[in-house]
């Protein structure tokens, strides 16, 4: 990666104006994935000086700033289990100290563990211009114009879990899933190898029927059959684990 120019604004409106007025402006979260790109980025807007790096507990849930690191999520005991667990095997601690939740969402990576957990939790994304966008809608369609993700609201849930198969610890997921329970159960499945989609069910009784609601495909990392077989076992185990939920 080459960067020609970088700015570090302390005002969000200023950052937004730079984003829409400068051709090829690129936002930087943790900068980890930007760094891996083999291109020259003419103009970078560093988001680290905008006060977006805190986790707030509200009466309805959690507001997680876009610049909150994956490690902050891992070590915050009040965050729902499903979200905390999804970051545990993303690279090493050092990378998790830099990689942000905002960068993880905005990249819309099909292998994403973070998207899968947030989809099952029915999170809402808050953008500077666009305002609120449901995570599932963003996961499917992305954004139609440049914008800055400010924070992610995660509603309170009674219970949640995350399950994944990685060939080795810290590897990319071959398939991942997340279940959260409030009134009903929302089950999301990701890395299929497409990004997460979800269904809602009244009870966790028939894992095979749930499995049939999701599509799996083949890519260079795994075949559709293999992914389906993994998902079957993960779902069965997850249903078992959720039996003790109140």
């Amino acid at each position: 990666m080459k960067i020609k120019e970088i700015i570090n604004p302390s005002d969000i409106q200023d950052a937004y104006e730079q984003l829409v007025s400068r051709k090829n402006a690129t936002l930087m979260g943790g900068g980890i994935f930007l760094r891996l790109q083999r291109r020259t980025i003419p103009f970078v807007i560093d988001l680290s000086n905008l006060g977006l790096n805190s986790i707030e507990i509200t009466s309805t849930g959690f507001t997680i700033g876009a610049m909150v690191t994956l490690r902050q999520i891992e070590t915050n005991a009040s965050i729902p289990d499903g979200l905390r667990a999804c970051v545990r095997q993303i690279a090493g601690v050092a990378v998790r100290n830099m990689a942000t939740v905002g960068g993880s969402v905005m990249g819309r990576y099909p292998f994403s563990d973070v998207l899968t957990a947030l989809v099952s939790l029915n999170a809402t994304l808050h953008f500077h211009k666009k305002g609120a966008v449901p995570i599932a809608q963003f996961a499917d369609n992305g954004l139609d114009e440049p914008d800055i993700l400010l924070n992610i609201c995660v509603p309170k849930v009674k219970n949640s879990l995350f399950a994944v198969y990685k060939p080795v610890y810290t590897d990319f997921s071959l398939v991942n899933l997340s279940i959260s329970k409030e009134e009903k159960y929302t089950i999301s499945m990701g890395a299929t190898p497409k990004h997460a989609t979800s269904i809602t069910v009244e009870s966790l009784s028939d894992s095979h029927a749930v499995l049939d609601q999701f599509d799996f495909e083949t890519d260079r990392r795994a075949s559709a059959e293999y992914r389906r077989a993994l998902a079957k076992v993960l779902l069965e185990d997850a249903f078992e684990e959720a039996k003790v939920w109140k």
Binding site: M1, K2, I3, K4, E5, I6, N8, G30, G31, I32, R35, L36, V44, D46, S48, R71, R88, Q89, A91, G92, V93, A94, V95, N97, M98, Y169, T170
Partner: protein
């Protein structure tokens, strides 16, 4: 861009290009313990501490480190030697290239958690690759170090 770095307690004023990473700045200043392995945030060999947080220096932009406290292996020699003695006593290291990154990672862990379980140690070290050892010897050394510390 002009940046002030506080490296192992010493202040430096440096001029850094917008895409320069700490790995290169630190090596230029003579901190040669900081090594380039994968250059793609995957091996942990370049790990250092910035404001007390473990980070890969191959991805940390120098301009983002302005006024921050940076710690490299040169700044924690005593602690590093103490831990390394247990690892080398197990014959764990061969080329030793992974060693600075491993030690910076372990020191970060012990700063956060004085008495981790081996499961916690393995979770914390999971991003640090060693192409020679197979990890068993390193883990034996760390387990012994922790036992002695506890005693």
């Amino acid at each position: 861009m002009e940046v002030t770095l506080i490296i192992n307690g010493n202040r430096f004023s440096v001029s850094a290009a917008p895409d320069e990473v700490l790995l290169d700045t630190l090596r230029k200043l003579g901190y040669k313990s900081v090594k380039r392995g994968c250059d793609s945030t995957s091996c942990g060999i370049c790990n250092i501490h910035v404001d007390g947080k473990l980070v890969p220096s191959c991805a940390f932009l120098t301009v983002r480190a302005d006024q921050k406290e940076i710690t490299t292996l040169e700044g924690v020699q005593d602690k590093a030697k103490e831990i390394a003695a247990y690892v080398t006593a197990e014959g764990a290291e061969q080329c030793g290239f992974c060693s600075p990154g491993n030690l910076m990672t372990l020191i970060s862990l012990f700063n956060e958690n004085e008495n981790p379980t081996m499961e916690e140690v393995k979770h914390y070290l999971a991003g640090n690759l060693c192409r020679c050892s197979g990890y068993e010897g390193q883990h034996r050394g760390i387990a012994k170090y922790l036992e002695v510390k506890k005693a």
